[in-house]
Symmetry: C2
Subunit: 331 residues, 2 copies
DNA sequence: ATGAAAGCGCTAACAC
DNA sequence: GTGTTAGCGCTTTCAT
């Protein structure tokens, strides 16, 4: 004991605490991590001394030694920007659900974009990817890293990939039912079907219309923003398209569409019925209050976290599609 | 060379790549991190071999050796929950600004709550704390860790602490000016002044009214939610309070207040003028459109990130209060 | 331009 | 109940 040189100035290590007390550093380690084999009096003494000396565990050293980090990366597929953060299409509540569950499991979460992740990989045990990217490129990039990972989105990837998402086809179907029930017959679909989830919404929508007299008179690819919805509807009206119902792939699109209709003197739901997607916070504030297909983001986030932790622990894991629900309001 | 045992099954290390090529592991390290001293042909060969063998850098090992993690913790003062995530009072755009700046500097970000942070400290170089907590307890807890840190909020703490926030007093002042300009004389303040930022808003509000004929007839402590705003106004009306202007510490509170007024047959801005705070996304959707004091969250986030990185690099850093701006709409 | 040795701070495995 | 040894995978330092 008492070997090795001192360590003035720098942050004290376990070796410093051990030397101070004339014990082995492993005893300090055991005392501070509540190992049962340490005598209560020793533990108290070590605790106190560590505290007095301002000792802090070096987490990087522990991570290296234990070969695990208790940290999960949440990777956002798109780059953040001032006006279009991950609010669309993946809202805060999804992140909230993930955090909830990771926190409960004592896991940390590093939030990053796909680009930063590739360039500066953090020290992690697993990955939650939000959004597969167009043509699955984001998911492929993550897969190449060889870490346990799960994806939020649509189950369009290779078999074996674990995907959690809403039942988007059923969402499309219930949107169709709603519009049919309102007697709507000439319908518009607004959304970017390169996006797997949106593609599923359209497929379900078409399936829901099959056998009815209603038809989809046009579909316009548009981003998940109000501006894109506005522009899409303006284009339709400029072309003198006739329609009496819209199914939008997000509430933001729906709001933009309604604004464009109003600007041309068309009323909702008088002239046109509109169904959005997500039941986002703005949906119940907007005027008219938006009818929308609700996804349970928070539960989705919890599932993502649970599943990635199961993968890390080498437990068996399967994909999961969550039920959606129509929230009928005034549009 | 070629000493040491093989390493079948497990993930290859630099030693494995080095053995494969008959070079020293330090050469592999230099090649992969673009050290200039490595011959171009060697570098290419090592690159290729590492790729073929599926080699990945062990970030935890590098962090330990270099004594830095290139990771900053963003600590949310409150626990996340399903309905009240960090949307209020710290919105996504603040996080967006932080991410923007950290990403540009090649830094990772771990997002955590104060509780999880204390219980399972992640491996980090510095901390951004969002919200000081009531009575500064959250900031005190972080300070005790002895790491570089900056805080979003009000500059009420000990000198030397680096704080970035909006000029909340000026925000209160311009809200007062607006209400006075509308001829309002009997005013209500809604907000929890235990919260340092809200306290500043009230102080500025009072200062702005000084010398006028207007008075604050009541102030009600309420949380940053629409429900709290609704309840507060209901209580006022039940007590038959007379008032013609409200300054709410957040837009959510303002919306709740307006709903409660409308439910009792009072109109905004006919009977009562209302000023919110934050200019949150809902403010321009709500009906009536909300007049609100705008904070520049994104710039605030960037400043927080810059300053904490400066601290980590032992550069000199000072606190900063950002200007606010009144957005006049229909309330 | 490349290599050998040392060691970052911690904990698993095995004594005693 | 406590200690000794070894080593996680990498990069710094010093040598060649």
């Amino acid at each position: 004991m008492n070997k090795g040189k001192l360590n003035e100035g720098a942050r004290p290590t376990m070796a410093d605490v051990a030397r101070e007390l004339g014990v082995a550093k492993i005893t300090v380690s055991r005392a501070l991590s509540n190992h049962s084999t340490v005598k209560e009096s020793t533990r108290a003494l070590i605790r106190e001394t560590a505290e007095r000396m301002g000792y802090r565990l070096n987490v990087a050293a522990r991570n290296l030694r234990q070969q695990r980090t208790r940290t999960i990366a949440v990777v956002i597929e798109m780059a953040p920007s001032h006006d279009r953060l991950m609010s669309e299409p993946y809202p805060l509540s999804l992140l909230g659900g993930i955090m909830q569950e990771l926190t409960a499991a004592g896991q940390n979460m590093v939030l990053t974009t796909i680009d930063l992740f590739a360039e500066h990989p953090p020290s992690i045990d697993g990955v939650i990817l939000l959004g597969q990217g167009v043509h699955d490129d984001a998911a492929a990039a993550i897969e190449a890293m060889g870490l346990p990972y799960v994806v939020w989105g649509a189950a369009h990837g290779p078999p074996g990939r674990i995907v959690v998402g809403s039942d988007n086809r059923d969402g499309g179907r219930i949107a169709a039912d709603y519009l049919l029930g309102r007697g709507r017959r000439e319908l518009i679909f607004l959304g970017e079907t390169q996006h797997g989830e949106v593609e599923d919404r359209l497929i379900g929508f078409e399936a829901g219309l099959r056998g009815s007299e209603a038809v989809i008179v046009d579909r316009i690819a548009c981003a998940f923003t109000a501006a894109a919805g506005r522009e899409a509807v303006n284009r339709l009206l400029d072309r003198a398209k006739c329609f009496d119902g819209i199914f939008a792939a997000s509430d933001a699109i729906a709001m933009g569409a309604i604004e464009a209709l109003a600007a041309r003197g068309l009323t909702v739901p008088g002239d046109v019925s509109v169904v959005g997607f997500d039941d986002s916070p703005g949906a119940s504030i907007f005027s008219p209050k938006l009818t929308s297909v609700r996804q349970d983001w928070a539960v989705g986030g919890e599932l993502l976290a649970k599943k990635v932790l199961d993968l890390v622990a080498r437990r068996r894991v399967v994909s999961h599609a969550m039920p959606v629900e129509l929230v009928v309001r005034d549009s």
